[in-house]
């Protein structure tokens, strides 16, 4: 539960935004950060935006998370072959 997931802000109403995470839309509290705009990427943790991040970082993190929850680990040793 400590991991944070990147999301793209698509709608803002007061303190609550709607944000898209890999296609699904969730509500995100904006109380913890300053000045967000539609189109911004944020790190979301337990339903709140923690920080703004850039788009590339957001996409990379999402990909990594998808990877991490995958069942079969791809072993780095085989991958690095030292």
């Amino acid at each position: 539960m400590c991991l944070s997931v990147p999301a793209k802000i698509v709608k803002i109403e007061g303190d609550i935004a709607q944000a898209s995470i890999g296609g699904s839309i969730i509500d995100v509290g904006l109380q913890l950060i300053e000045k967000v705009e539609i189109g911004d990427y944020v790190l979301v943790h337990t339903g709140f935006a923690l920080e703004k991040i850039d788009e590339k970082e957001a996409k990379e993190t999402l990909e990594m998370l998808n990877d991490m929850v995958e069942e079969d680990p791809e072993d780095m040793i085989a991958y690095i072959e030292i």
């Binding site: 991991l3 950060i33 920080e51 970082e57 990909e63 680990p73 780095m76």
Partner: protein
């Protein structure tokens, strides 16, 4: 700024591993205190890439794992009271209390609901004025701000039926406690998102007091290898400091707005960590001005601490003194489907990470 291919890049990983091999002379022990790091290290087998001089240990980085048994017992006791709704993050449902878990209580009819955000608890309280909604606040620096927002919101809305049972915890006091207790650690891989909120500054006293190296790391294999290299350099050069490897999401100051919200409603207190014991100043409780929202003040319970099951080594695993494979129950009696100790419950728990990634 680097991009994904670079964080995964075989050549970069390879050269980092080589550099670590070249630089690392003395035997050192490095601990990660973030469940996300534990998962990534196990998944990518990073521990197996390092030279024999560098030993990686998993510490108390999973909020579910360090949540005390008596906290679960209290939550269960509240769930048995009339007109009460318990709200919690899903991870906590299967954590065994002394006799039962929230999941089992729910199956027996208790009103326990998983929420994704604290604001859902607020909404539940508004929609059910005749019921008391008790939110189970667990988590470290990353998660506490979410609870603070809910408490401030409840105050603004003058809600009388929203309460928090807080087991929120602070990471640095636990990092000190491990060293004080004698776990031999030369460097910490600093937790990523804890530091996004709290800033790298929170680890400075550790460096000053214990001469320990700290590198705050991201979650990609290359991030972790680079952090290990930073730690090796700091230790070899005898210049321990706090370095930020995860500069894409961490600053020295952290998220000041979030820190202020937490400070406005919480204050440090002594708290018990599962398997580790009481650590002064490591917990957060609601300040007096907010006691109307404090479950333990509004509905006091008398729950005594009970010892952990004898065979479960969670305590010494959280302290870096044992590995899950040292536990007789590991994989046999204790599995993610049927966890004996809390370290097997959350996917970020050390035992669960070892289990999943075939150790």
């Amino acid at each position: 700024m680097k991009h994904l291919d670079e964080y995964r890049d075989k050549k970069i990983a390879q050269s980092l591993v080589k550099e670590i091999q070249n630089r690392s002379k003395q035997k050192i022990r490095i601990m990660e205190v973030c469940g996300g790091h534990t998962m990534a290290i196990r998944k990518y087998g990073i521990h197996n890439l390092l030279p024999g001089t560098v030993e990686l240990l998993s510490g108390p980085g999973c909020p579910v794992c360090v949540t005390n048994r008596s906290f679960i017992d209290k939550a269960i006791e509240y769930s048995r009271q009339a007109d009460t709704i318990i709200t919690t993050y899903g991870d906590l449902m299967r954590v065994p209390g002394t006799e039962t878990s929230l999941l089992k209580e729910k199956a027996r009819g208790a009103d326990v609901r998983i929420v994704y955000s604290t604001l859902e608890s607020i909404k539940l309280a508004e929609e059910n004025p005749e019921k008391t909604v008790i939110f189970l606040g667990i988590g470290f620096e990353t998660t506490t701000p979410s609870t603070a927002v809910a408490v401030l919101e409840a105050k603004k809305k003058e809600l009388k039926n929203f309460l928090v049972l807080s087991a929120h915890k602070l990471m640095p006091p636990a990092m000190s406690a491990l060293i004080e207790e004698g776990t031999q650690i030369d460097g910490y891989i600093g937790p990523g998102h804890v530091s996004t909120i709290a800033g790298s500054k929170i680890y400075l006293p550790l460096v000053e007091k214990y001469n320990i190296a700290v590198a705050i790391s991201g979650f990609e294999p290359v991030d972790i290898l680079q952090s290990v290299l930073m730690l090796v350099e700091q230790i070899e050069n005898r210049k321990p400091s706090v370095e930020i490897q995860y500069a894409r999401a961490v600053t020295y100051e952290g998220n000041v707005k979030a820190q202020e919200m937490v400070d406005s409603c919480f204050e440090p207190c002594i708290d018990s960590w599962r398997g580790i014991g009481a650590i002064p100043g490591s917990g957060l409780k609601l300040k007096k001005e907010f006691s109307a929202f404090d479950a333990e003040v509004r509905i006091p319970l008398d729950i005594k601490e009970k010892p952990e099951p004898k065979a479960c080594l969670c305590g010494s695993i959280l302290k870096g003194m044992n590995k899950p494979t040292d536990c007789k129950l590991f994989r046999k009696t204790c599995t993610p489907e049927n966890p004996v100790g809390a370290c097997m419950v959350s996917s970020e728990g050390t035992c669960a990470a070892y289990y999943k990634f075939q150790e």
